[in-house]
Amino acid sequence: MKILPKHSLKAWVERLRATHRVVAPRETYGQYIFEEIENADDLVLDYHTSVLPPKKYLLPPREDLFAFNAKTMEMSPLIEEIQPTVIMALHTCDLHAITLLDKIQGTGHTDQHYQARRRKTTLVSIECLKPCMDHAFCKSMGTLAVPEGFDVHLTDLGDRYAVDIGSEQGEQLIEGLSLFWEPVEADYDRVNQVMAGKWPNFDYRLDCDVTDLPDLLAASQDSALWDEVGDTCLACGQCTKVCPTCYCFDVLDEIDLKLEHGKRIRVWDSCLIEKFAVVAGGHNFRSSQARRLRHRFLRKGKYQFESYGLLGCVGCGRCALSCPAHITPIGLLNTLAERRRPATEEASSRS
């Protein structure tokens, strides 16, 4: 652990900007967007979740895969010269999400595009001391604690930050900088105090234990709730766009009017869109909005866990905030839990 006095933060960021693209949340219309900071004065560390998660630097919404000449069949990869990037002030939920993405993109055939970006990205996370917004349910999902996976982690101690270093890459960001002090005994006490004080600020919002989620969802496959919620879902797809753990994409070709130079790109897709699972012949394997919603939730709460050992939802609450129809994971999962309870209780009373 090191100590960074708050008044030195700007100086640190300016130092980083000499060698890195530094991105951080910026306020816009009451929300926050991760953007390159042009001036350390613009830095905001205290923010509620961003519109798009920081994953956009690892899996851009639109990404060039390769360029081609359709006449000569020449192809060239476009994993461009990626700028070394520091993502500032990640919340711990987003950090958990990146840990999951690392697993997914690194399993089986590794996605070199993701890897290339990931290698050049350094994550500076920040300890969340109070709930960032009503919709967040990180405590329930177990993502409020600092996991591994950060490069540098900041904890606000009032007039200074406690600085934890999680990796070699993180070490390099502070190495040799006199801005950082060695901690004294009191700093450790202060950290413990802050950490102990933070937990009561957060509520458990999920009515079941997070480890029960896969079972709950498995048992709820045929719940009528899917239809009820499916009726109100607009199929707008916002929830999937803003989710830090969604990664589905579509692949498209673009070509010039002379039908010669073009590129293949991928664009974030959404499983809540009607056409997502349609195949040739027109058969739709997820034919109703209810089923599409169910797929999204089972994927978050069950499939990802089964495939990668981590849940696919980190409780950031972005989807709940964005949904024009007010469909929220907490509302939905708690209703499922409530509807299952009588049946379970009955079953247990019988045994």
Partner: protein
């Protein structure tokens, strides 16, 4: 020799295909065409029956297509049978011999051929389903001695819709293959059976316990065929089906092909009934 998959995967992008040349074309039906493709020298496709490639036309797009030729006969070339249904397949149908396309793959798990050794085999193909099965059938017939009895049940919409006519004729001529075909709608001069594919099943009298079945066809066919096979006592783990889903990447990343927790492009497209029987999205 470089295998295509290895080449695909050592490109700096897994999404970048390798060029291939069309060297032979045959129009099977109004909407189905057969393509013989040649890889650049030094490449082999090295696939298993049931695997597929992602076929590209640069500037148009990409689509998953099963390899319909036998692995043993590939040697730097391979074959596809393609139905014209949309943007990529339309464009492909317009290409002539000599044109260049591009391919990635092969991807997915094919049929677990080892588990077919010593067994009686029923191939059940509906329509275009014969394409992926042909790769398996050829493989089996090439090493005929390793297997028990072999039957092919094939249903097409009309007699004009039969694919691989030369192969069909050759298989029908063989003593060691029981070949049964049916059509939904007969045309003038057709004197064979008429009816859905399940009507052919009673014609094959293999002992259930030693039989494996490989099925490829349109989604509607699966439920009916499965009901009959299960009723006939074939083991769930001995029924192998190939699944078609939207696939944008072929490498388990784009999310389109998911049936519940299964990435069809990776764990499939060939899966046993035992693996999918509880998956509503697989067999609905």
């Amino acid at each position: 020799m470089t295998t295509l998959l290895r080449e695909t995967l050592t490109h700096s992008s897994i999404y970048m295909p390798t060029p291939a040349r069309i060297v032979e074309v045959e129009q099977f039906t109004e909407v189905e065409k057969w393509f013989h493709l040649e890889l650049p020298s030094g490449f082999t496709i090295d696939h298993k029956p049931g695997q597929f490639v992602e076929v590209s036309i640069l500037g148009i797009g990409e689509a998953p297509i099963s390899i319909c030729s036998s692995p043993a006969r590939s040697n730097g070339s391979f074959e596809l049978c393609v139905r014209r249904v949309g943007k990529l397949t339309d464009a492909l149908h317009r290409l002539d011999v000599g044109s260049m396309i591009a391919v990635r793959g092969p991807f997915g798990h094919g049929f677990p051929i080892d588990r077919f050794h010593g067994k009686d085999i029923i191939f059940i193909a509906g329509g275009l389903g014969l394409a992926p099965l042909r790769s398996l059938i050829t493989e089996v017939l090439d090493e005929r001695g390793k297997y028990g009895r072999v039957a092919l049940l094939y249903g097409a919409r009309t007699p004009n819709d039969f694919l691989f006519p030369a192969d069909l004729a050759a298989w029908a001529d063989r003593e060691d293959v029981e070949c049964h075909v049916t059509v939904d709608r007969p045309t003038e001069g057709w004197d064979g059976p008429v009816g859905v594919i399940t009507t052919l099943l009673p014609k094959v009298k293999f002992p259930a316990r030693n039989t494996v079945v490989a099925i490829v066809g349109p989604p509607v066919m699966y439920r009916f065929v499965l009901d009959e096979l299960l009723a006939a006592g074939i083991a769930e783990g001995n029924i192998w089906l190939s699944f078609e889903r939207q696939m944008k990447c072929g490498v388990g990343k784009c999310g389109h092909c998911q049936m519940h927790h299964i990435y069809t492009c990776q764990q499939g497209p060939v899966l046993s009934y035992a693996e999918v029987k509880n998956l509503e999205e697989a067999l609905s």
